[in-house]
Symmetry: C2
Subunit: 181 residues, 2 copies
């Protein structure tokens, strides 16, 4: 079955500081015309950072849109033209103060396909060394660590309920166990 | 550490058919004032639907924002005032033509905390019976089934790369195995 929806016209209907909203007219698979609203996003990285003692780095952070605190893995937006590995290194350092010597790309995923073109790149970081914090202006967060088992208990109980963090932890467990064979 | 960002003022800067964008002024934890842009979303459900033969229901669907096809579990937005279990039953029937007799709520997660207040409710559905399709106007998708093992191979290989579907499958595997004990 042909499912593609073909762009007929596009317009930038909201040009914000961070959010850009487009409203397109598109031809549907049955030949009809429909409207599609969506956000463009530069893409993001998320980092599963494993300390030499086996623990993982987490952040506690208030998120304005949902108006609550979340426990998250380090993550951030790709700067224009930036290679994704550089984004991962930059965000890990800015948010947690750590550098890492071993980097592995795990997955490319789409977190919000109903209304955004954002893709997210998951990295595994090992060989961590604490260099010191350089939080971006306007960024407030607290860094701490947990074992993977502790984190998985928090996923099960709902204490960790940020999708990107839950997915990262579950993928990491797979990569460390059966997918490593 | 106090991390809360307090709303000082809010304005609806884009009032679209589906997307509503707000731009707020907010007081940061350090006392400074900053701007926060975000989208409001009614919330959504996602359904892990297990047939009597053990296979899971999937959909192939073109998503306009990322301009590509995805393999997804059934999912959809909560109508205003609708109980989430009713949303799950409605979306499963509308998208796949199935009803189910056994429903279990698995998790509440936040898929897009950087710029949306959307929450997503995961359900497990069993006791499936095919009733016939009633796709919403303007909705085009193809329904098929996979075993959990097949689906997990597709997650590993990147053929399934929609975050909500990946997370749902990995959570389901946990619930069916170690978390069921």
């Amino acid at each position: 079955m042909e499912l593609k929806e073909t762009r007929l016209s596009t317009s930038l209907v909201y040009d914000g500081d961070f959010l850009k909203v487009y409203k397109d007219s598109a031809r549907m698979p049955d030949g009809s015309t429909s409207t599609r609203e969506f956000i463009t996003h530069p893409g993001a990285v998320a980092v599963l950072a494993i300390l030499d003692n086996g623990k993982l780095l987490f952040e506690r952070q208030f998120r304005y849109a949902p108006q609550r605190e979340f426990i998250e893995i380090p993550a951030g937006k790709i700067d224009q033209g930036e290679a994704i590995l550089l984004t991962a290194k930059r965000e890990l350092l800015e948010e947690t103060g750590y550098t890492a010597t071993e980097w592995t790309h795990l997955h490319t995923v789409w977190p919000c396909i109903g209304y955004a073109d954002e893709r997210m790149e998951y990295f595994l970081a090992r060989g961590l060394r604490h260099e010191g914090h350089r939080l971006d202006e306007g960024e407030f967060l607290e860094v701490f660590d947990l074992t993977l088992n502790e984190a998985m208990d928090w996923v099960r109980s709902g204490r960790i309920n940020d999708s990107k963090t839950m997915l990262g932890l579950l993928l990491l467990e797979k990569h460390l166990a059966e997918w490593a064979r």
